[in-house]
């Protein structure tokens, strides 16, 4: 059934959550999927069938939870890099800020989870604005380098903070608890993270539909034209940093609680580059792309590792490589994959999804 294009006649409909009737189908499928995940990957039991390790590709809820944390982080980075066009390598710095706040407020002062997260977010905004100041003078490559410098400076400050208030071993974190609900099993973490993800997605969608969100995109694409129309471009850039770092600090605090213990080595440049990879592979400027990219980046190495674990060492050429150097081979494959994706689909993975949706909607007129 070929669907005609949507005709929106007022802003209210445009801002509404669902613009098509068919969107409800998507929602139902998504909810069912979310419910199935802990069953399949957590309990490994569904409708009387026990899933063996091989059937679910060696995945478990811990990997899924780590992937969810990465998804939120990638979405937040996309706000900065994708929507506002500000190339910032300060991601790890904001995660660290969230973790620090959680350590102080949660462990030292004993606050419960939600106030800790909110405080982390607020501190994140403050730091984000400071980190964002160079963006007022610098663009593109130079901004990237400036934030790279800030990354190392922030790590140094983090190490000093860690040594002053805690032990050289790192920052310890209590169990996260909301009132009497203690988040201490994988399943509880899964649902907590899903809720957080849902809130972030909802909030971001509303933001991008509003004039504030549109101002981000204007600052990215035509900043001179936008300022000539009266938009305060520096303020918009700082606002983008604020929004992005709020989310990242909150997820950084959650990440800290999830791990239970963090030290300065947890916030390496490799981590930042990983988040960049997620956003770019998924598709810059698309929240869905960030989700896809994050899932691919965190889960694909697991799949590859799992698939190559039981390879017979006597297989010619790759046999020895896969048994002795499995980790390196997986990295190489990931690298090649990235290059291929960027070569043939520079717009990212989301373009595949969009192409599919497009074809579905246009059927039977799809090319």
């Amino acid at each position: 059934m070929a669907q005609r294009s949507i005709m929106l006649t007022d802003y209210r409909r445009d801002g509404g959550l669902f613009q098509r009737r068919s969107s409800w189908v998507v929602v139902v499928v998504a909810v069912v999927g979310l419910l199935l995940v802990p069953a399949i990957f957590g309990d490994r039991y569904l409708f009387g069938h026990y899933f063996s390790n091989s059937e679910i590709l060696g995945f478990g809820l811990p990997q899924i939870n780590s992937a969810l944390i990465a998804v939120v982080g990638a979405i937040a980075l996309n706000v900065l890099v994708g929507f506002t066009g500000l190339v910032s390598l300060g991601h790890a710095a904001f995660l660290a800020v969230g973790a620090c706040t959680a350590a102080l407020a949660g462990t030292e002062w004993g606050w419960p989870l939600i106030p800790v997260l909110l405080l982390a977010g607020v501190v994140g905004i403050l730091v984000g604005v400071v980190v964002g100041l160079p963006s007022l003078r610098l663009r593109g490559l130079y901004l990237m380098l400036a934030t790279l410098a800030l990354h190392f400076i922030m790590l140094y400050i983090f190490l000093r903070f860690q040594l002053k208030f805690f032990t050289p071993a790192g920052l310890p974190f209590n169990t996260a608890s909301i009132g009497s609900f203690a988040v201490d099993t994988e399943k509880k973490w899964y649902w907590t993270l899903i809720v957080v993800l849902g809130l972030v997605l909802l909030g971001l969608r509303n933001l991008m539909k509003s004039r504030h969100g549109r101002s981000f995109i204007a600052a990215r694409d035509h900043d001179i034209a936008a300022s000539s129309l009266g938009m305060n471009v520096p303020r918009v850039r700082l606002a983008s940093f604020a929004v992005s770092s709020f989310i990242v600090s909150v997820i950084g605090a959650l990440y800290a609680y999830y791990l239970g213990h963090l030290s300065d080595t947890s916030f390496s440049l490799t981590l930042v580059i990983g988040y960049f990879a997620m956003v770019i592979i998924g598709g810059i400027g698309s929240t869905g792309g960030a989700v896809l990219g994050a899932l691919l980046w965190t889960l694909l190495p697991q799949v590859l590792t799992f698939a190559t674990t039981d390879v017979d060492p006597t297989t010619p050429v790759i046999g020895n490589m896969l048994t002795t150097y499995q980790g390196q081979t997986v990295s190489v494959v990931m690298g090649i994959l990235i290059i291929l994706i960027l070569r043939f689909r520079p717009e990212g993975l989301i373009s595949y999804w969009k192409a599919v949706v497009h074809a579905c909607r246009r059927w039977p007129y799809s090319p």
């Binding site: 069953a39 490994r44 239970g260 213990h261 300065d264 980790g327």
Partner: protein
């Protein structure tokens, strides 16, 4: 609603093929390892893993343990705590194993420490034993390598011995990471004891290209001995800088700093200034157990790694595992293995000092001795016996 209840009512026995319980079936025993295989410390950790694999292969070749073959599941944590945690969770509940060997990444140990009591899975140590798993006594952790406090005690004692003085000016050079700070703090704590006067705490970052500034500081502060924390790259830089300036500060380094590469490219007159402490005996020094170890290593394909102390440490970790499995008997699960390990006394045939566990002692090896390098024979030489240095060790973490 119906879906939720369906999802909730599952999960009794969990995953696992057949009738596995804790990773043990009638024919196989699953054991997991977590170590850095592709990250920055892989150069030290891979030989360790090979040592473990050697012992496991040898046991399997001889019919297994109590009729079961050991299936080793290796996990790579890439020196990253979060990956290590995911690996730990996988080994505990998704693909259950009866024991974990390793948890070598220093950052991973404090993360895993609070979980062990809940999961009740025995962990046999590897190259690293940090305070988090030792103090207070962790029932499920069975360390192998000595912790940093033991290392520092022996490092300082031997360094002072080399100077021939009773009162020495001590400098600690560390790589600035959290374990580096831990070692520096341990050294500073010993200020004023045994004639140690700690005058300097210098950082040599892991990515430094030259140690000139460090040696200049050592010279201007008239230091007598240096305690070193870091890897072989750093100590090699330090030795090259000492050679350049003609300085001869005795440097004693932590166990991981001692590899053949640390001494390479240095004039032997300056290379002799460096020693490192170790709790194991590499194969260049023949003791009772060396022949068996070399034979097993050759069979497993790691014959040229037996001169690496990291490999020997792994060999001992593997030995602890196999001996523990044997002692646990036919009725093998995590609880019985933990129990067996707690009463274990391992005879390493001279490859290390005495190794035994008890209800109050889970730290493993606590005897160390310094090693230096003989440029002519291109191998390590030991400075004395393990027992020679036992009286300087204060066992700060495990008292």
């Amino acid at each position: 609603m119906a879906l939720m209840s369906l999802a909730a009512c599952g999960g009794g026995g969990g995953a696992g093929e057949g009738s596995a319980h804790d990773g043990v079936t009638d024919t196989t025993i699953k054991v997991g390892t977590i170590s850095d295989r592709t990250g920055p410390t892989a150069a030290n950790m891979e030989p360790w893993l090979h040592g473990v694999m050697t012992v496991v292969d040898e046991a399997n070749d001889n019919g297994g343990v109590n009729g079961r073959k050991i299936d080793l599941k290796t996990e790579d944590d890439k020196y990253d705590g979060s990956l290590g945690l995911a690996a730990y969770k996988k080994l505990v509940s998704q693909d259950p194993v009866v024991a974990i060997v390793g948890v070598n990444t220093g950052d991973l140990q404090p993360i895993v420490a609070p979980l062990l009591d809940k999961d009740k899975v025995p962990v046999i140590g590897g190259q690293t034993s940090t305070k988090s798993l030792l103090k207070p006594l962790q029932k499920y952790f069975f360390g192998v390598s000595p912790d940093y406090s033991v290392q520092v005690d022996v490092m300082l004692a031997y360094g002072q011995q080399q100077t021939g003085k009773d009162q020495t000016r001590v400098a600690v050079v560390d790589n600035g990471t959290s374990t580096g700070v831990e070692v520096a703090d341990l050294v500073k704590e010993r200020n004023g004891k045994n004639g140690y006067n700690v005058v300097d705490s210098i950082v040599l970052p892991p990515d430094a290209t030259t140690a000139d500034a460090v040696v200049q500081k050592l010279m201007s502060d008239h230091v007598d001995q240096v305690a070193y924390h870091g890897n072989s790259t750093g100590v090699n830089l330090l030795l090259k800088a000492q050679q350049k300036f003609g300085a001869h500060f005795p440097i004693v380094g932590i166990a991981p700093s001692g590899t053949a590469a640390s001494f390479a490219g240095i004039d032997p007159k300056f290379g002799k200034d460096f020693a490192f402490v170790q709790a194991v005996t590499p194969s260049a020094i023949k003791v009772a157990g060396t022949a068996d170890m070399v034979k097993a290593a050759d069979a497993a394909g790691y014959g040229d790694e037996t001169t690496d102390p990291a490999y020997v440490t792994g060999y001992i970790s593997g030995t602890v595992l196999v001996e523990g499995l044997k002692a646990a008997g036919k009725d093998l699960d995590r609880a019985s293995l933990t129990d067996a390990l707690e009463h274990l006394n391992v005879d390493t045939a001279g490859l290390s000092g005495p190794l035994s566990y008890s209800a109050t002692k889970h730290a493993g090896l606590d005897a160390m001795r310094p090693y230096t390098w003989d440029y002519k024979s291109k191998s390590f030489i030991a400075a004395g016996e393990f027992s020679d240095y036992s009286d300087v060790i204060t066992n700060e973490y495990t008292k």
